[in-house]
């Protein structure tokens, strides 16, 4: 189990792997105490490196300064509702390009999860993410990021999202797991959060893929649209 606050030091010195980094950055958005600590520890590392001084060769200076004349500085990040809306709607079609893989999916039977079994200890996404055999796939498009993690030993999958735009009004993101025979089983609905860590419902031990579709509020028994994200699991 991960104590998320304890990751601050390793985050500051870039000692986290990609999944942990996404997890911690999502946490940072909600935790002012961690943000303050990260800021202070970052200043500390700058002092720590202060004795490491080496003048780079002068040809490097020439090359760097010549390079910038062909690069446009990015504008500042300004809160702009109109831009936000444009980004939201640009995001979905562009993710679909990555999802062409799913075009030939057969309609199959729903897997029944064991979530209601009173004998089973309560699983969390952390159990999957911190498992020794955790398998991670990253998807990154237009600033939105997702990491899908599956642990065969835990038997489940989890998803971490970062800066994911909300679905259109009246719609919901639905998660799916794909069986070796190609069939899709619902793995739950995603809360409307830009940054979240979520355990996928159902057994993911032998899943060959995981995806997200946009469905009408309440979800669908089978996908009614092309996936916006689909990743293959090995």
């Amino acid at each position: 189990m991960i104590d998320i606050h304890a990751l601050s030091g390793a985050y500051v010195v870039d000692a986290l792997d990609d999944t942990e980094r996404s997890l911690f950055e999502a946490h940072l958005a909600d935790c002012p105490a961690c943000r303050d600590e990260v800021a202070e520890l970052t200043e500390t590392t700058a002092v720590l490196s202060s004795s490491l001084v080496e003048e780079p060769p002068s040809h490097l200076r020439d090359s760097i300064l010549a390079g910038i004349t062909t690069m446009r500085p990015l504008p500042p990040l300004v809160p702009d509702l109109a831009e936000h809306r444009r980004r939201r709607f640009r995001w979905m079609p562009s993710l679909m390009v990555a999802a062409a893989v799913l075009t030939a999916i057969a309609v199959g039977t729903l897997l029944i999860g064991n979530a209601g079994d009173p004998e089973q200890p309560v699983l969390t996404a952390d159990d999957v993410i911190s498992a020794e055999d955790a398998e991670r796939v990253r998807v990154e498009l237009d600033g939105a990021r997702a990491v899908i993690v599956r642990s065969a030993s835990v038997g489940h999958a989890a998803i971490i999202t970062r800066e994911m735009p909300p679905p259109p009004d009246g719609m919901v993101y639905q998660l799916w797991l794909q069986d070796p025979d190609g069939s899709l089983a619902s793995a739950g609905l995603m809360p409307r959060e830009r940054n979240q860590t979520l355990l996928l419902e159902g057994d993911a031990t032998s899943a060959i893929g995981a995806g997200i579709t946009v469905e009408p509020e309440g979800g669908s028994p089978q996908p009614t649209s092309e996936p916006i994200i689909f990743v293959a699991l090995s």
């Binding site: 010195v13 520890l41 500390t44 004795s51 003048e55």
Partner: protein
């Protein structure tokens, strides 16, 4: 910018105090190439020193230093003075890129050499800001004695070695979950010993 004796609060190894660096970044964000050149001259030895320490290979270090400054040029407008000093922001960009590079090339000869900082030639400039740097280095050395051996080694392996906390745990024979705690505890002690405030 002045080359007069170091004003109070000047970050060691740079030729400029914090507010001057922030001003240069703001001008760079507006496309001022001369301001960017000044920013480069004030900070390049620090950036390159850290990158060389993490990556070691001179040619790769130069590539990464170049990538860092090009990123700084493009993203100068995203620097937020409320979130920290310009130097801390810059060194964060540099460290992240250096670490990405060493992790991308696991076969690099860096992995074959001993990690121990004591046995490695530390990049050190002989001409510029020697007095400030020596003073600052003595302050850091003294602060480092406040750390336990494990905290110090874990922090050095992670920050200067570019290793993940899991790799650090394996190298120091620590249980998997504990290296990240040592790193954090070490940084917190160092912060307090150095009196670092935002």
């Amino acid at each position: 910018m002045s080359n007069d004796p170091v004003p109070a609060g000047e970050p060691a190894g740079t030729g400029a105090p914090t507010e001057a660096l922030a001003q240069l970044l703001r001008r760079s964000a507006r496309g001022d190439e001369a301001a960017f050149a000044e920013f480069y001259d004030a900070t390049a030895a620090r950036v390159h020193g850290l990158i060389r320490r993490v990556i070691r290979d001179p040619a790769q270090s130069e590539e990464v230093t170049q990538e860092v400054y090009w990123e700084v040029w493009r993203t100068a407008s995203r620097y937020d003075s409320n979130a920290g000093s310009p130097l801390a922001w810059l060194m964060t960009v540099a460290h992240r890129r250096a670490v990405d590079r060493v992790r991308a090339s696991e076969a690099s000869h860096r992995r074959e050499s001993s990690w121990s900082g004591r046995n490695q030639p530390v990049p050190h400039d002989e001409t510029a800001e020697r007095a400030t740097t020596a003073l600052e280095a003595a302050r850091v050395r003294s602060a480092m004695t406040q750390l336990t051996d494990l905290q110090r080694e874990a922090l050095q392996l992670a920050y200067f070695g570019g290793y993940t906390h899991r790799e650090v745990a394996a190298m120091l024979d620590l249980p998997v979950g504990t290296a990240k705690t040592r790193i954090r505890d070490g940084l917190i002690r160092l912060r307090d010993a150095l009196g670092v405030a935002r």
